[in-house]
Amino acid sequence: MFNYVYRKVWLLFFITFAVFTFVFSLNYMFPGDVLSNMTGIGEIPAEEYTELARIYKLDQNVIVQYFYFLIRMFDGNWGQSFTNGTSIFDQVFNALPATIELATFALIYSFIVAIPLGILASSETKPWLDKSILAMSIFGFSMPIFWLALLMILVFSINLGWFPISGRLSLVYDIPTVTGFMIIDILLSDVSYKREALGDAVNHLAIPTFVLAAYPTTVLIRTTRQSMKNVMNTSYVKAARAKGLSHIQVLRRHGLRNGLLPVIQMMGLHFGTLITLAMVTEVIFSWPGVGLWLVDAIHQRDYPAIQGGILAMSGMVFVATILFDVIYMIFDPLARRHGYGKI
C-alpha cells in the first residue's frame, strides 16, 4: 500500500513539474515584455527595470530563471494582476473556496441522486424502469450545460421568481469571511440574521448545484447501472441468492460494495470535466469562484492572472484525481496489487 501511495506521489510530482514548466514558458510565449508578464507590472519605469530584472534573474540563463521562478511560486509570490495590481496568489485563494464549495455540493448531490437511480435501473425485472431512467440520463448527458442553465434560469428564476440567478449570497447579508466557504462562514458568524442568511445561501446554491451536477449524475447513473448489472450476474452473488438471502441483503452485503468501486474510479476520471463545467456554471451564475475569475482574466488579457489560474485549476484536478485513486485503492484490495499509478 505504501508503495502505491509513493508511486502516486511521484506521479503528482512529475505532473506538477510539467505544469510549472509550461506556466513558466508562458512568460515567454505571451505577447508583451517577459518581465512584465512575470511581475504583473504593466509599464515598468525604466529606472526600476534593471533592478527588477536582476531580482527576477533575467540577466541569467533560463535554467536559473526557472529555478527562481519555482522558488517564487512556492513562496506564494505569483506576481500581481495587470488590471488592479493586487496579488494573484491572494486572489486565487480567495476565489478557490467558492469553486470547491460548488463542486462539492454538486458531487454530493449527484451521488445522492445517481446511485439509487443506477441501482433501480440495473434491475432486470423491471425493464421499463431501466429504459426510462436510461433515457433520462442520456437526455441529461447530451444536453449542453450552458443551455440547461439558461433554461433553468428562464423557468425558475425569471418566470417563477423562486431562485436568484447570481452570486453566492444576497448583498443584503454582510457575512465576514473566515474560511471562504459560505455555508461554514454563515454558521461561524455572529450575526442576528444567521438563519435568514443561511436560507438565502441555500437558495443561491440550488440552481448552480443542479446544473453542475447534471453531467456527473448522468455519468454516475450509467456507470452504477452497468457495474451493478455485472456484479449481480457474478457467481458469488448467485451463490448468496441460492443461500436464501433476500434481495436487499444481497445488495447490501455483496452488490453495493463491489458495484460501487468502478463508480469511485469513474468519478476521479471525470473530475477534470467537472471543473471545466464548474467554470461554465460560474460564468453563467456570476459565481465568484476561480472559473469566473479566470475567464475575466482571459477577457482582460491579464497574463499573470491567467498563469495563476492555470496553476490553481490544474493543481486542483491533479490532487482530486490522485485522491480518488487512493480512495479507490483503499476500497479495492485488488488495485493495490497493480502497484503503479495511472491518471
Binding site: G161, L171, Y193, L198
Partner: protein, 549 residues
C-alpha cells in the same frame, strides 16, 4: 446515521415540518417578507457602473452622482422635482439681495454628521463646514484643493471661481456669498448634486492624520445614508443615518449592486435580486410593461437632442438653408425608430419640465415641399453634398445618433441633398467638433440644474461659440442680449419673457433644430414606494419605503 435521523423525524411526526423547512429554504416562499427580516429593510439598487469617487464635487458622471450625491450628502438648497424651483435644504432660509449679487444662507440648527467607525463628529453643522466645502473648490492654496486631482469640472464649467467675490461667515449658522456679477442661476447651481456640503471637522482630522485622500473615498456627510463599505465593481453598502435631521429612513440599509450588463440588470430585477433598476434600455421598458409586479416611472428629464449646423461653413451660413433643412426633420419617425416612443418631440430648446417652457411652437413641422421651396429660392434646387456627424456614444438624450442620421439622410436625399454620415471615437469626435470641422452634427444636452440658463448659455451664446460648446458657432447679439438680461433678474416671470424672446430669435435663425426630449425611466418592484427620480440629477432613496406583503 441519516437513516436514524430520518426514522426519528418520521416517528415524531416531524416530517411535515422537515419538508416545510426544506421547501421554505429552497423556494423562499414562506415568511420571507416578515418585517423583522433584514431583507425587508434593505433596498437593493442595480446600478450600471462603479462610482469614480465618493465626492460629487470632483465629477460630472451620472453614475457617480446617482451613487453618492443624494445618499450621503445634503446641499444648501435643493430643487423641488415637481416644479423645478429651488427650495430650502440644510439652509432653512436664503435672502437674495435685489441686485442678485449677495446671497445670505441661514443654516438649520442641529444638523448631524454621520457617525461611522472611521469618524465621530463632536459638533453639528456650522457655517465653517460650508466655508470649508467651497474653499476647497475656490482656493488653490487650500490644503484640500489638490486632493483627488484638483479638478472640479462642474464648478469650472459655471465659472464659480470668477463669480464669487468672497464668502463671509456671519455667525455660526449664517453665511453669505458675494458675487462679482449678478447671476440669477447661482441658487440653481447651489442646488445641483455637485454642490454638496462636506465636514470641516473630518477634513481637519484627516489632515492631522496625513490621510487627506480618505475624504473622497470614505465620505462623511449629513445625508440620509452613511457609507459602510465599497467593493470596487461589486457593491456599495450604506446604512441609514439614524440621526438624520429630517425623518430618518425606514430602511436599515441600501445597497448598490453594480451590474454593468444591461440584461443581467433586467434579470436581477425580475428575480427580485434588485428592487430598483437603473437605466433600462428602451426595449427593456417595452418588455417590462407586460410583467406583473414591476412599476415603471417615467419623467421627461432636462435634456434635448438637436441637429446643429456649423454656421461658419457655407451653405449653412445662410439662414434660409438652415430653415429649409429644419423642415426635413421627421420627429415622429425619429421618436418611433430611435427612441422606441420613449421621448417627446421637442418644440423648443427647453423641455416642458422647465419653468421657462411655454406652449408656443418654436420648431418647423416636417414638410419636404416647404424645404424644396426654400432651397429653390436660394438657388439650391439641385441640392449639394453635406456631412452629418453622429455622436458615437449612447446618451440619455440620444440613444442612437447613427440611426437618427440615417433617417435624416433618407429625407435629405428626397430634396436632392447627399448626406454623408461621419463618426469618430468619442474623444476625437469632441475635439474635432470643438475645432469646427463639421457641417452639421447630431448631439444633445443634459442639464445639470433646473435653470433654463443651463440650456441657452452653454449651447448658443457668443461666449460658448469661442469656447467650443456652441456646436453651431453661432453668435447673435439680440439672442445674447436676451439671455444675459434674463440672468440679472430673479423674478421668474420677467426672465421667462426674455427666454421667449430668445427662443423667437432662435426660431428665426435656426442655428440648430431641437429634435426630442428623451424620457428617463426608473423601473422598480411594486413593493418599493417613493423612490425619487430627480429630473436634474441623481436618484434619491431618502424617502423610499419597502412595503412587502
Amino acid at each position: 446515521m441519516i437513516k436514524t435521523v430520518l426514522a426519528h423525524v418520521v416517528k415524531s411526526g416531524n416530517y411535515k415540518r422537515l419538508w416545510l423547512l426544506l421547501f421554505c429554504n429552497l423556494l423562499n416562499a414562506c415568511g420571507q417578507y416578515d418585517d423583522s427580516k433584514l431583507a425587508a429593510k434593505t433596498l437593493l439598487y442595480c446600478s450600471e457602473g462603479s462610482p469614480e469617487t465618493f465626492n460629487p464635487q470632483l465629477v460630472t458622471s451620472g453614475t457617480t452622482i446617482d451613487a453618492v450625491s443624494q445618499q450621503i450628502y445634503n446641499r444648501l438648497v435643493k430643487i423641488d422635482p415637481t416644479n423645478g424651483r429651488v427650495v430650502s435644504d440644510i439652509a432653512r432660509k436664503v435672502i437674495v439681495s435685489s441686485d442678485a449679487m449677495r446671497y445670505r444662507f441661514y443654516l438649520r440648527k442641529g444638523v448631524e454628521f454621520h457617525t461611522t467607525n472611521y469618524f465621530t463628529p463632536t459638533r453639528t453643522l456650522t457655517s465653517e463646514d460650508v466655508l470649508f466645502t467651497f474653499s476647497r473648490i475656490l482656493h488653490q492654496d487650500h490644503p484640500y484643493h489638490d486632493v483627488g486631482g484638483g479638478q472640479y469640472p462642474f464648478f469650472e464649467g459655471i465659472g464659480l471661481s470668477d463669480l464669487i467675490e468672497q464668502i463671509i461667515v456671519v455667525d455660526d449658522l449664517t453665511i453669505e456669498f458675494r458675487l462679482v456679477d449678478p447671476q440669477a442661476s447661482f441658487l440653481a447651481n447651489m442646488a445641483t448634486d455637485f454642490a454638496v456640503i462636506l465636514s470641516a471637522e473630518y477634513g481637519e482630522q484627516l489632515q492631522a492624520a496625513e490621510n487627506k485622500d480618505q475624504i473622497d473615498t470614505k465620505p462623511i456627510g449629513t445625508g440620509p445614508f452613511k457609507f459602510v463599505q465599497y467593493d470596487r465593481d461589486h457593491h456599495i453598502r450604506y446604512h441609514a443615518h439614524e440621526k438624520y435631521w429630517q425623518t430618518a429612513s425606514e430602511l436599515q440599509q441600501i445597497i448598490f449592486d453594480i451590474t454593468p450588463n444591461n440584461s443581467s440588470r433586467l434579470a436581477k430585477l425580475l428575480t427580485g435580486e434588485c428592487d430598483v433598476m437603473g437605466y433600462p434600455t428602451a426595449s427593456d421598458v417595452g418588455y417590462l410593461h407586460s410583467k406583473k409586479g414591476i412599476d415603471i416611472v417615467e419623467t421627461t428629464s432636462m435634456n434635448v437632442s438637436y441637429w446643429a449646423f456649423n454656421t461658419n461653413v457655407p451653405p449653412f451660413d445662410n439662414a434660409n438653408v438652415r430653415k429649409a433643412l429644419s423642415y426635413i426633420v421627421d420627429r415622429e419617425a425619429i421618436i418611433d425608430a430611435v427612441y422606441f416612443d420613449l421621448a417627446e418631440p421637442a418644440n423648443s430648446l427647453v423641455p416642458p419640465t422647465s419653468w421657462a417652457y411655454d406652449n408656443t411652437n418654436y420648431v418647423r413641422p416636417f414638410s419636404l415641399e416647404k424645404a424644396k421651396e426654400l432651397l429653390a429660392q436660394e438657388g439650391y434646387e439641385d441640392g449639394f453634398e453635406m456631412d452629418i456627424w453622429a455622436m458615437p456614444v449612447q446618451r440619455v438624450y440620444n440613444p442612437n445618433a447613427g440611426k437618427m442620421a440615417e433617417i435624416l439622410q433618407q429625407n435629405l436625399a428626397k430634396i436632392n441633398i447627399t448626406a454623408n454620415i461621419i463618426t469618430y471615437d468619442w474623444g476625437t469626435f469632441r475635439k474635432r467638433l470643438a475645432k469646427g470641422e463639421h457641417d452639421s452634427v447630431l448631439i444633445g444636452w443634459l442639464a445639470d440644474n433646473s435653470d433654463p440658463d443651463n440650456f441657452y448659455r452653454p449651447l448658443l451664446s457668443c461666449a460658448s461659440a469661442s469656447s467650443g460648446s456652441n456646436r453651431s458657432g453661432w453668435c447673435n447679439d439680440e439672442f445674447d442680449r436676451n439671455i444675459i438680461s434674463a440672468l440679472s433678474i430673479t423674478d421668474h416671470d420677467t426672465r421667462k419673457a426674455y427666454y421667449q424672446a430668445a427662443e423667437a430669435v432662435l426660431f428665426e435663425h435656426s442655428p440648430l433644430v431641437p429634435i426630442a426630449h428623451a424620457v428617463r425611466h426608473k423601473v422598480h418592484r411594486d413593493y418599493i414606494k417613493q423612490v425619487n427620480i430627480n429630473p436634474y440629477g441623481g436618484i434619491d432613496f431618502s424617502k423610499a419605503v419597502k412595503k412587502v406583503k
